[in-house]
Symmetry: C2
Subunit: 231 residues, 2 copies
């Protein structure tokens, strides 16, 4: 029913974007006066992964610059070559994530005739990108409050956009008599929340030994059950 797998998605991601850290470099090296791409991407990797680790342990606000310095092994002064202040760390992470997600997740791609197929593909793509950028999604979700108001609203809006995109496909499927769904809004909310579940509770699925492809399979099965898809 769907011709995607995490394997192939991940290859696409690699060719399309490369890796997360050079993306960070590309988006920020100008204003930070970073010249050596090789050094800088390595440092970005080290710093941001440490930020993820410490934020995960006690939250971004509670993480001090001294914590970050000690844990990453980079001095205070050294750190500030890679961002100009603490809140900019969150902004950088958010901006890079949005950039990467937008590059490979095409909400408006509707080249199929079958709205159910479109829905499946939308869901699968989102699971795959959040699998690849698991820690980024988790971080942005948990620490969004550190951002400025307008940016927070951007995040809420893009969440809503995903739910709307799901809803749109369900309604379309219903109109075209592909399914019988009496509560499209609720089903859309349910599916969107299960997209978040994948990166918010990833430890649970690692523990259960369920990978992204298996999760997608479960999710698509639920789509059929919830929508009452006619075979």
């Amino acid at each position: 029913m769907i011709n995607l797998s995490y394997e192939t998605f991940n290859q696409d991601f690699n060719t399309l974007i490369g890796d997360e850290w050079s993306c960070l470099f590309d988006l920020n090296h100008q204003k930070l006066n970073l010249k050596n791409r090789n050094i800088a991407t390595k440092k970005f990797k080290l710093i941001i992964e440490t930020v993820f680790k410490l934020s995960n342990e006690k939250g971004f606000q509670a993480m001090t610059m001294r914590d970050l310095s000690q844990e990453s092994g980079i001095s205070m002064g050294g750190l500030y070559k890679y961002f100009s202040n603490k809140t900019q760390i969150v902004e950088m992470i958010h901006a890079a994530m949005v950039h990467m997600a937008a590059t490979c997740l095409h909400l408006n791609d509707e080249h199929s005739e079958d709205p159910i197929f479109e829905l499946n593909e939308l869901l699968a793509r989102h699971i795959y990108i959040s699998e690849r950028l698991k820690k980024w999604f988790y971080f942005v979700f948990m620490e969004a409050k550190c951002l400025e108001r307008p940016l927070v609203e951007t995040i809420i809006a893009s969440e809503q956009a995903m739910e709307d995109a799901i809803l749109k496909r369900i309604v379309k499927a219903k109109q075209q008599n592909f399914c019988q769904c009496t509560n499209p809004d609720f089903v859309a909310a349910m599916l969107k929340v299960m997209l978040q579940e994948w990166y918010l509770k990833s430890w649970k699925y690692i523990q259960k030994d369920i990978n992204a492809d298996q999760y997608v399979a479960n999710l698509l099965l639920s789509v059929y059950q919830l929508l009452g898809v006619k075979s």
Copy 2:
């Protein structure tokens, strides 16, 4: 199919527990040397509601004691009569919430023969308690990281317990041939996450004018669809 409503639940809550603020008083007045119940419950209400408000705006960590003082209109010294340090605020809120939830949510009540009915009741009860204690649930979910490790693990464990309780009823229903469910784990995760959705995204449902009872109705409909309940 289910004889519960938020109306009746709320009445039970009031007779069983009274109100949130006197609960806070009862649990803490000894160690804080608070004598006047009347004054103290009013202050607790004022302080904790302000904590909810400020935490909601920028997070508990980012909220300073001066913010809390200014917004509540209580002096710094005055505040410290109602808790002994900042982290104790989170602990107090958490402890009171657990106490209230445990008092009126009985995970082990299985007096019915019908496991589907039991499942419905479990879900409805949880929606209702999280409706009543909406801000408490939201706060604890968002600020759990401020707590000590063992307490955080308590929270994770109780979340897992809810999912397990749901799963148990699904499996039971399947064994007794009430339904045909091929992915009980996934369905259990889905239902639990929709319980959280109610208090994490409450603004969405206020906006859509969907109340707790309507949400429960939607949820129970999904149970039927996901489990393939035989009529």
